[in-house]
Amino acid sequence: MPTRSRNRYSALSLLKHGLSHHENWQRAWRNPTPKQSYDVVIVGGGGHGLATAYYLAKVHGITNVAVVEKGYLGGGNTGRNTTIIRSNYLWDEAAHLYELSMKLWEGLTQELNFNVMFSQRGVMNLGHTLQDMRDIERRVNANRLNGIDGEVLSTAEIQTKIPLLNCSPDSRYPILGASWQPRGGTARHDAVAWGYARGADALGVDLIQQTEVTGIRRQNGVAVGVETNRGFIGAARIGCVTAGNSGVLAGMAGLRLPLESHPLQALVSEPLKPCLDTVVMSNAVHGYVSQSDKGDLVIGAGIDRYNGYGQRGSLHVVEHTLQAICELFPAFSRVRMNRQWGGIVDTCPDACPIISATSVPGLYFNCGWGTGGFKATPGSGFVFADTLAKGKLHSLAAPFTVDRFHSGALIDEHGAAGVAH
């Protein structure tokens, strides 16, 4: 493996570089010109694409790999999400995939020698109606049968954990209980992209930014490479990991995917003193909030229900979420919001991803993560790398092929994934 010599980040290196005023840090990755061809070309330099490249090199020793990104690394949904991580999905197929991811998160900072700030501060999903509570109990029981941590909390237990939450029975959205996954939490999204990028680059992967894939070249029906605005790049295998633009990529190869692209918005407040030490989500009122280490409240809204690629959404969607957040946390009503933005999420009819070979040999897709794929970044990369390396779907990915939309074997996670997160 052509491992490049690389400064390890450590307290000692920090001290050493401090002596030279931090002016001599090595670049985190190279900026190579594309080679004529690679064993594998990954289209899309978000977290999932970069993780795929990293595990291809690390686990499978396949280092003749390029990641082709039209903008900058992590500039898509990876750098736009609200960073909630959990694995408490209802159905076995999804639970196993997200739990693989959770296990990888737990060692990721050490694995990458890059602080991804993974913080297992717990994730709470509120229930506001009897039906919410039934669903929560069912899901927690299913999770525990799958070896995934989960508890059902009473209103009193919730109030002790989150003093600022309005748990009064007179509130507009009375809180009857919640599910609680203590191992859930958040991570720093940029660091995840950067950590995987640096790790992949060190193992020899070429990260090619500012390069847009404009076509997928086929010979005798077999994918042989990608056309880009910088010319043709050959590839024995191509993995498309392009989130909201996956339908566009599929179209380049004459394929269709059951995806629709929607704007999903988030916003952050001005920084506050620590006041919320866990993640609170509510499907019913469509809001979720946590507090970042910088002190800002990170708030996610719902999707705009129209299709869009514009990386911006409508204001009333954000307003609706903020109304709900203020009902839940009356103390936040006077907090000012700093920034708001949108990402383009690729929603799938059953709220589960598509990890799939296609009818074009050599061409694979990993997409459809929609509103909730950040948490899956390590696991998605792991199973997709395995799939690309072996030319055969990893066992955890096998239920997620695009064929399920014709066979009818959908994996309905609308309950567990009902709110954008």
């Binding site: 633009n245 129209y306 869009g308 514009g310 409508s314 009333h316 939309f405 014709h406």
Partner: protein
């Protein structure tokens, strides 16, 4: 925030009055029993999702409560036109979407 023209009310109104209802011009299969799994899956789950001009249905839910179609660019969000259900100004876009 979009501003949408309702062809029935004949007024430009704020998006909040409307609900988007997905891709327009999807013909319900005439004889569902005769469809293959492939065709049925296509009908249920596969949408065009174009990056560019899109024909979509909107419901004037806080207005006249009628459905109509809109042709809108999914990148710039500029609305080219609204037209009542049943009208089909430039049939070409519709032809391409074959669910039969």
């Amino acid at each position: 925030m979009l501003q949408i023209y309702c062809p029935y009310c004949q007024e430009l109104r704020e998006e909040e009055e409307f609900s988007p209802s997905g891709e327009a011009h999807i013909a319900r299969p005439r004889d569902p029993e005769s469809l293959s799994d492939e065709q049925w899956g296509d009908y249920l789950f596969f949408r065009k999702n174009p990056r560019g001009l899109h024909r979509e249905m909107w419901h004037h839910s806080a207005g006249c409560r009628r459905y109509f179609n809109v042709e809108r660019d999914t990148v710039s969000y500029v609305i080219a036109r609204s037209y009542p259900i049943g009208e089909d100004p430039a049939g070409a876009m519709v032809e391409g979407h074959d669910h039969e």
